[in-house]
C-alpha cells in the first residue's frame, strides 16, 4: 500500500465518518417523525414569542385553562409553554402569520399534531384563529372550552376551519 492510496483511503474514511455524523440531524430536521400525525389536539393559548425561523416558524404560547380565564401552570406556578411549529417564515407569511401579526399577548387557537415524546410541542394542522383585541388593548378570550374561531371579530390565518380533535 502506497502512501498515496493510504492518504486517499484516510480522507475517504474521514469523509464517510463525517457524513454519518451529519446525516441524522439533517434527516430529523426536515422530518415529521417527531410528531404523531394520526392525532390532533386543539389548543388555545397566549403568545409568548414567535421564532421566525426560515425552515420552520414556531409560535411559543402559554396554554389557556379550560375556563379561558388564565393559563395552565406547572407545580411551581409557571405557565405551561407549548410550541407550534409550521412551515418556514416566508411560507407562513403567505397566510399572514408573522412576528408582527402575533405579538406577545395575542390569544389564538390552533390544531396541532402533538410531539410523540410528550414534549409540549406540535406541528400545525389547518388555519390559526386569532381572538380580537378589546378596547382596553387586551385580547378577548373565547368562552369556557371554546376556541378563538367562536369569538366574534376573530381573524383567520389560513383556509378552512379548525380541525376536529381526535380522542
Amino acid at each position: 500500500m502506497t502512501m498515496k492510496t493510504l492518504t486517499v483511503r484516510n480522507i475517504s474514511g474521514a469523509a464517510a465518518l463525517l457524513a454519518c455524523l451529519v446525516a441524522p440531524p439533517l434527516q430529523a430536521h426536515h422530518s415529521f417523525a417527531p410528531y404523531d400525525m394520526n392525532k390532533t389536539q386543539l389548543l388555545t393559548g397566549v403568545v409568548t414569542r414567535v421564532n421566525p425561523d426560515a425552515n420552520h416558524l414556531q409560535i411559543f404560547f402559554a396554554v389557556m385553562n379550560a375556563e379561558r380565564k388564565n393559563v395552565e401552570r406547572d407545580k411551581e406556578g409557571n405557565p405551561v409553554i407549548w410550541a407550534v411549529e409550521m412551515a418556514g417564515s416566508a411560507a407562513s407569511a403567505q397566510d399572514g402569520i408573522s412576528v408582527s401579526s402575533f405579538p406577545a399577548g395575542t390569544v389564538f387557537s390552533v390544531g396541532v399534531h402533538p410531539n410523540r415524546a410528550g414534549d409540549p410541542s406540535g406541528f400545525r394542522e389547518g388555519p390559526l384563529f386569532k381572538c380580537p383585541v378589546g378596547t382596553t388593548g387586551k385580547a378577548i378570550p373565547p368562552k369556557a372550552d371554546q376556541h378563538c374561531d367562536s369569538v366574534e371579530g376573530r381573524t383567520a390565518f389560513g383556509q378552512g376551519n379548525l380541525p376536529a380533535a381526535t380522542k
Binding site: 409568548t48 414569542r49 388564565n70 416566508a90 403567505q94 408582527s100 378570550p141
Partner: protein, 181 residues
C-alpha cells in the same frame, strides 16, 4: 431568554428583516449567496495557507499567491458579511442569544487577529522567504491556525441551524389574567 438590546429589536423589525421573512425567494437566494461567499473566503485563504505551510510548489511566490488570492478573499468576505447581516435581521433575537452564533462571531474576530499579526509582523520579512525556501515558523503557525479557525467558522455556521430557537422563558410583561374585567 432575556430581552435583547434595542438595536437587535430594531434590526429584526426593519424593512430588510420583514422582507427576508416574508419573501419566498429571499432566504433561499441569500442563503445560497452566503454559502458561495464563505466557500470563496475559505477556499482562497486555504490556497495561501497551504503555500505558507510549504505544501505543493515552493517555487511559487508567496507574495504573488497572496496578492492574487486576497482580492477574491476580501470581495467574498464583504459579500458574506452583507448576506450574513441580511440573514441576521430575519431572526435577530434568536441569533443574538444563540451560543453557536456567538462562537462563530468570536472565531471570526480571532481570524482577524491572526491575520493582523501575520500581516503586520511576520509578512514584513516575506522577501527573504518568498520562493524556494521554507516559510518561517511564525508563518506556518499562522497558516495552521487560519485553516483551523475558518474550518470552525463553517462548522459553527452549520451548527446555528440546528441549535436555534427552542427557548421558552416567558416575558414578564405578559398579563395572563383574563378573568378580571
Amino acid at each position: 431568554m432575556n430581552t435583547p438590546p434595542s438595536f437587535i429589536h430594531a434590526m429584526e423589525t426593519s424593512a430588510i428583516g420583514e422582507w427576508m421573512r416574508s419573501n419566498l425567494l429571499a432566504m433561499p437566494l441569500v442563503n445560497a449567496a452566503h454559502v458561495l461567499c464563505i466557500t470563496l473566503v475559505f477556499g482562497t485563504i486555504l490556497v495561501v495557507d497551504m503555500r505558507l505551510l510549504g505544501l505543493f510548489d515552493r517555487s511559487r511566490s508567496v507574495m504573488k499567491t497572496s496578492d492574487e488570492m486576497l482580492h477574491l478573499t476580501w470581495g467574498a468576505f464583504i459579500g458574506a458579511a452583507v448576506t450574513g447581516v441580511m440573514f441576521f435581521t430575519a431572526n435577530a433575537t434568536t441569533y443574538w442569544f444563540n451560543t453557536a452564533f456567538r462562537f462563530k462571531m468570536l472565531v471570526i474576530v480571532l481570524a482577524g487577529v491572526n491575520m493582523a499579526i501575520f500581516q503586520f509582523i511576520t509578512y514584513r520579512s516575506v522577501v527573504n522567504w518568498d520562493r524556494n525556501s521554507p516559510s518561517p515558523r511564525a508563518a506556518k503557525v499562522a497558516a495552521a491556525l487560519s485553516i483551523l479557525i475558518w474550518f470552525s467558522v463553517v462548522v459553527l455556521g452549520r451548527l446555528i441551524g440546528f441549535t436555534k430557537g427552542y427557548d421558552v422563558e416567558v416575558p414578564a410583561s405578559i398579563d395572563f389574567d383574563f378573568g378580571t374585567p
